[in-house]
């Protein structure tokens, strides 16, 4: 039962990560490789606000969202004039810099030692200190974030993002300030990522920079590529598939020493096959080029 609940919690956290990345990748057409960095910034921000400033979980979460959204401007404003491969490289640079800061700013982040004994979240006076209560919290957060992100993407704002994805120049010619839309999408996406980061920190009670490396950004992006982007079901079903599949593989008689490698091979092979035969992912609307 505990194992099942743990999987549900992980699904809830990744659902927030993929739905928020979907706003950038699937709706705006920005292939971002720094979602892991925002995830980490959110986790560290809420942890530090709780442990050093003594704030509660919810105020820390809200401030972490704000901080992550503001920090997203440091990449979005300079790099959003870039397109295609150049933007991917800029986001990769941001990911690398963020990891380097988390790893080396020992006075603030404890560097490679990480921060342990993070307090369990307390929400409206209820302490979330059991697996069941954390499953409820992460499920509520995942549903709430998905609903808000869906409302945003289904609105005229989301329609303009899609137009930008399809043809940036034509969108400009209709009087839309493309840079403003992209910066806003980036900030919203980053803010929601902070929710996932706060949940992760509260659940694991320990954060260290290795949880937010480039491999994490690549993993979140792979979920979107495999599940599909530009609509609601793609990231949802991609998340379910990519979280449950490796767990299902545990039941096969694969030795522990090679299990992780086989998992990586399966991810890689899936991505290659999807790109080749189904460029819009299994359930997506946006076709990766």
């Amino acid at each position: 039962m505990s194992y099942f609940l743990h999987i549900l919690i992980v699904i809830g956290i990744y659902l927030i990560l993929t739905q928020s990345l979907n706003l950038l990748v699937g709706y705006t057409g920005l292939l971002s490789l720094c979602h892991g960095a925002f995830y980490g910034i959110g986790a560290y921000a809420s942890t530090l606000l709780m442990m050093k400033a003594g704030l509660g979980f919810l105020p820390s979460l809200l401030l972490a969202m704000l901080a992550t959204a503001l920090l997203s401007l440091t990449i979005s404003i300079p790099s959003l004039r870039l397109r295609g491969d150049y933007f991917v490289l800029a986001s990769l640079g941001f990911q690398t810099i963020t990891f380097a800061i988390l790893y080396n700013w020992i006075g603030l982040t404890e560097g490679p030692y990480g921060i342990s004994n993070i307090p369990r979240p307390t929400v409206f006076g209820i302490q979330v200190n059991t697996l069941v209560s954390f499953t409820v919290l992460s499920s509520i957060a995942a549903c709430g974030c998905s609903l808000l992100l869906h409302t945003i993407s289904a609105s005229p704002f989301g329609r303009v993002l899609k137009a930008i994805r399809e043809d940036e120049l034509a969108t400009m010619s209709l009087g839309k300030n493309v840079i403003r839309f992209k910066v806003t999408a980036f900030a919203i996406s980053a803010a929601f990522t902070a929710v996932a980061g706060s949940l992760f920190a509260g659940y694991m009670r320990f954060v260290d920079p290795t949880s937010f490396m480039l491999s994490e950004s690549v993993f979140i992006l792979s979920i979107i590529i495999i599940g599909g982007a530009g609509n609601f079901p793609g990231p949802l079903l991609g998340t379910l598939l990519m979280i449950i599949l490796p767990e299902a593989l545990r039941f096969l008689a694969i030795p522990d020493s090679v299990a992780a490698n086989i998992r990586q091979i399966i991810y890689g092979a899936l991505i290659v096959l999807i790109m080749r035969y189904r460029p819009s992912g299994l359930f997506g609307e946006y076709r990766f080029k």
């Binding site: 409302t151 399809e166 034509a170 400009m172 209709l174 009087g175 839309k176 919203i188 530009g230």
Partner: protein, 246 residues
């Protein structure tokens, strides 16, 4: 525009050009390929900035304005290569073009979805009317990429109308459109001009030029080489020889 020049490397695409468009009239820009006509539209709409000279919209200098600002002021553009939003439906293509939509603010769409939904219903009706006006009724839910070339052109015209621009710069609006629809497009252009819009059309089809143009600019080598009513410009023996091979 006054004394506008634009070069690409060593090639002068627009060479010290001065011209103007007037409200309520249709101006056709005619000339050989590479004469600088599309570059002229790119300069007016802010997609390119001139090396020299000034561009005015009414009395406002719009020389270095970003494309979206020029569009907000009322300068609309129909691209030669159509540029519809291919993975959006025809209806969404048109809806995207409407100005001042409250739902384009992400915060408003979250805190006041009812206002956004009310406004959206109103716009959907207008968008359907515009699609019907250009002959695309019944295709509202089709993805733009599934429409034929001619239909995509009509869709881009509907999108331009939704943007409600005062100055319409149309780059070959009838290319690829069936003869039956060409008539409808030309009637529409005339109606827009009669309603007070300023219309400039790049056109290679001379029968179209004769039918809709009030004035014709003949452009060659980045310069206006002739200006006047269609009969005078297109009847010029030099132009007939160099451009039409007659």
């Amino acid at each position: 525009m006054e004394n506008v020049s634009k070069s690409f490397g060593g090639v002068c695409a627009v060479d010290n050009m001065s011209l103007g468009f007037e409200e309520g009239k249709v101006f056709c820009l005619v000339g050989p390929n590479g004469a600088g006509k599309t570059t002229l539209f790119n300069l007016i709409t802010g997609f390119l900035h001139p090396d020299r000279g000034h561009i005015y919209y009414h009395d406002r200098n719009i020389t270095a304005l970003a494309p979206w600002r020029a569009a907000r002021l009322g300068v609309g553009r129909l691209f030669q290569d159509i540029r519809v939003f291919k993975r959006l439906t025809a209806l969404d293509n048109v809806l995207t073009a409407f100005k001042n939509q409250p739902g384009e603010n992400a915060l408003i769409s979250l805190i006041n979805p009812w206002r956004v939904a009310r406004e959206e219903r109103r716009m959907v009706e207008r968008a359907r009317d515009l699609l019907s006006l250009v002959g695309l009724e019944g295709n509202e839910e089709s993805l733009a990429e599934d429409l034929s070339y001619g239909q995509q052109k009509l869709l881009s015209i509907a999108r331009l109308l939704a943007a409600d621009a005062d100055v319409l710069l149309l780059d070959e609006p009838t290319a690829g459109v069936t003869p039956v629809r060409i008539k409808a497009v030309l009637d529409l252009i005339r109606k827009l001009a009669d309603a007070g819009k300023t219309v400039a059309v790049i056109e290679h089809n001379m029968s179209v030029v004769y039918e809709i143009a009030d004035w014709v600019y003949f452009i060659d080598g980045g310069q206006v080489t002739s200006f006047g009513i269609p009969n005078d410009v297109l009847g010029d023996p030099n132009i007939r020889a160099t451009y039409m091979g007659l």
